[in-house]
């Protein structure tokens, strides 16, 4: 293999750009979000503020009115001491105005500047409160509220460090979502493996009509999950759904409406829809593996007097192991991240009984516009996925090594 030159490196530039912008950068960004109390619908939290910030525009506007209102009442303030205090306040406000003369919007502050702003706020507040209680001011009602806006223009840092993670560990919904995700993943992947294996064995034997079987197997895989979910929500419907009706006639459920309205029923429904959609995919992956096993091995086993069951466990399974593990890895990852199916079919309901980590994090992020906490849940998912992958790769690596 040749060494790569500069010109050949150009082949890699597009993929590097795309991966960096749309995969790596967002991951790092989500990781960053998870350390902030980052909420889009709250003006003081709708950004990542590591240090304290200052809303110059709000301050300028506020100080302008405070200045005006106090000046208006200078005549009313009779006591000399009070007058001096009021003048001092005005001087403080003006000084701060000068300090940020050339700034606009939201800016970062140094520690000293923060102290200065707080100082001005404290002084103004004490003096104004005193004046308001002592005299009949024209803007007596509005002035204290205005003064509070000086404090509001100081935006606190919304860096919360690991607090989001702490919250997640004590958040019952995360526990429930994790449990639901694990149940969904284990049950659906297990059923898909068993059924897919059986189907692959049948397809491998079937001489005629393989093309037809393959086509009909590919359709559930190929149609959009959201479309399949909506289709199943019709079949599961308590009044008009034929599958719900069938289940109640057979006796799995008491009434057709129980299927989507009880927690076990809804989880079963979601798992079955997923099994319907992805078993054929599993079967096709396993079938490809089966077709690479040489026929001569089975013949040799027959000559040695092996039964069908023995042939399956002694020849098929060991030789198919790499294909099984790869298929399992792909399916486990997909099932763990399941979103479309549940979001459209049950929306996580009833009462959160089918809410998985994906669905919960999406609701937190885009339902409550809480990107910070939503990212915490996403990062928890990320860690789970990393653990699952590592286990598979360890096992997969070991089985491939064994084979060599």
């Amino acid at each position: 293999m040749k060494k790569m030159g500069l010109r050949e490196f150009l082949f890699l530039v597009p993929i590097l750009i795309l991966i960096c912008i749309f995969s790596l950068w967002p991951v790092l960004q989500s990781f960053t979000y998870s350390f902030f109390d980052y909420q889009l619908n709250d003006r003081t939290k709708s950004g990542l503020y590591l240090s304290e910030r200052f809303n110059v525009d709000l301050y300028n506007e506020t100080s302008f009115y405070v200045d005006r209102f106090i000046s208006m009442d200078m005549e009313t303030i009779s006591d000399d001491q009070d007058k001096a205090d009021a003048n001092q306040v005005l001087a403080g406000l003006t000084e701060l105005n000068k300090e940020f003369e050339n700034e606009e919007g939201v800016i970062k502050l140094t520690g000293d500047q923060t102290d200065q702003v707080l100082n001005v706020y404290q002084n103004t507040k004490t003096t104004v409160d005193q004046l308001v209680s002592k005299y009949e001011l024209q803007q007596g009602e509005n002035l204290p509220l205005l003064v509070d806006d000086i404090n509001n223009s100081l935006i606190q840092s919304n860096f919360v460090g690991l607090d989001g993670y702490k919250q997640a560990f004590s958040d019952g919904f995360v526990g429930i979502a994790l449990k639901n995700t694990l149940i969904f993943t284990v049950v659906s992947v297990f059923l898909e493996l068993i059924l897919g294996m059986g189907m692959a064995l049948i397809m491998n034997k079937a001489m005629q009509g393989q093309g037809f079987i393959r086509t009909s197997s590919l359709i559930p895989w190929a149609i959009p999950t959201a479309v399949a979910a909506l289709m199943w929500s019709y079949l599961y419907d308590g009044g008009a759904g034929i599958v719900a009706e069938f289940f109640s006639i057979v006796g799995f459920i008491d009434q057709p409406t129980d299927l989507l309205q009880t927690s076990t029923g809804a989880m079963t429904a979601v798992v079955l829809a997923d099994v319907w959609k992805t078993t054929p995919y599993m079967a096709i992956l396993l079938l490809a593996g089966l077709q690479t096993i040489p026929k001569s091995l089975y013949e040799a086993a027959s000559i040695d007097g092996a039964s069908i069951v023995q042939k399956f466990f002694r020849v098929t399974v060991p030789l198919l192991m790499p294909a099984i593990l790869v298929a399992l890895l792909f399916r486990t990852m997909d099932a763990f991240r399941v979103f479309d199916l549940i979001y459209v079919l049950t929306g996580g309901g009833p009462g959160g009984s089918t809410e998985t980590l994906s669905v919960y994090s999406y609701k937190v992020m885009f339902g409550q516009t809480n990107f910070g906490y939503g990212s915490v849940i996403v990062m928890i998912m990320f860690v789970c996925v990393a653990i699952i992958t590592t286990i598979y790769v360890k096992v997969l690596g070991a089985s491939v090594m064994e084979k060599n």
Binding site: R214, A222, M231, D237, V385
Partner: protein, 280 residues
């Protein structure tokens, strides 16, 4: 001999029965949706909703979803987004896979590791930052949505293409190089034609994946004008009433393109799905 024949005959009967059950389970939902799409709303919600043959067959639901609910606009959006995704992803992935398969460079394993990791991580992880990015750029409700689709389509494209490139012998390229071809000429005149089946397989898998994408579109393209098929369909239910007849008709309409693709290209799809998964 006779005994063995009898045994295999019995076996083939049980095969046929199993096969029939399997096909019935797989295909039944489609058949039922097809039947429902011709039933009147009165019949679907009536006393006898489970008749196999519609009482008064009607095309009303099809007319409704096509002319009133604008399902064709969603199909059009899906076509634009899926085709553009396919074109740029296949191009980018082909370049990358060629370099990975043909040249030695530092960080190659790191690149492959990152590609694999991207394929594994939850899609939810990119959606927040990408949403903010699109808001900032003013790209929400536009066809730019095809760009973040790269996070779900690039890894598998690279994977499939590297497998295919590795199967093409190096000798041809070396003779082209001796004749004075540049790397780009070698790629376009020698490697590309030889890799065409693999590239085509990748294109189809990318197309289907882009066609099926849901979360990014529903989040970033919230305007109904830019809804793709999966998103538009999901909104048929969240209205005040659930019109199953229209849901069924819409499902039939949007499944047709998928059906055609699967019928025409099943061989490529299977080869794409299984490459990398099976050691040949």
């Amino acid at each position: 001999m006779a005994k063995e024949n009898g045994f295999s005959l019995k076996k083939s009967w049980s095969f046929l029965v199993l096969l029939f059950i399997y096909l019935a389970v797989v295909i039944f939902p489609f058949i039922w949706i097809l039947i429902t799409s011709f039933k009147s709303t009165g019949e679907i919600f009536g006393d006898n909703p489970f008749r196999v043959i519609p009482e008064n067959p009607t095309l009303q639901h099809y007319a409704n979803v096509i002319f009133e609910k604008g399902i064709m606009n969603a199909v059009w959006n899906s076509l634009i987004v899926s085709f553009s995704t396919t074109i740029y992803i296949v191009l980018v992935a082909t370049f990358a896979a060629y370099a990975i398969s043909r040249f030695e460079f530092r960080g190659k394993n790191l690149l492959l590791g990152i590609v694999l990791a991207v394929a594994m991580f939850p899609q939810m992880i990119v959606i927040g930052p990408v949403y903010n990015l699109f808001i900032e750029l003013g790209w929400t409700n536009s066809y730019w949505i095809a760009l973040p689709f790269s996070s779900i389509t690039l890894p598998m494209s690279v994977w499939i293409l590297v497998t295919h490139f590795n199967q093409i012998p190096l000798a041809l390229e070396e003779s082209a190089k001796m004749d004075g071809a540049s790397p780009f000429q070698t790629l376009f005149k020698i490697v590309f034609p030889l890799a065409a089946p693999g590239v085509f397989t990748t294109a189809i898998i990318v197309f289907i994946t882009a066609w099926n994408e849901f979360v990014l579109t529903i989040t970033i393209n919230s305007n109904a004008e830019y809804h793709t098929v999966p998103v538009a369909i999901s909104f048929l239910r969240t209205q005040f009433e659930i019109l199953w007849g229209e849901v069924a008709a819409a499902t039939v309409v949007v499944t047709i393109p998928t059906l055609i693709i699967v019928l025409l290209f099943q061989r490529q799809i299977v080869s794409g799905l299984t490459s990398g998964g099976v050691k040949e």
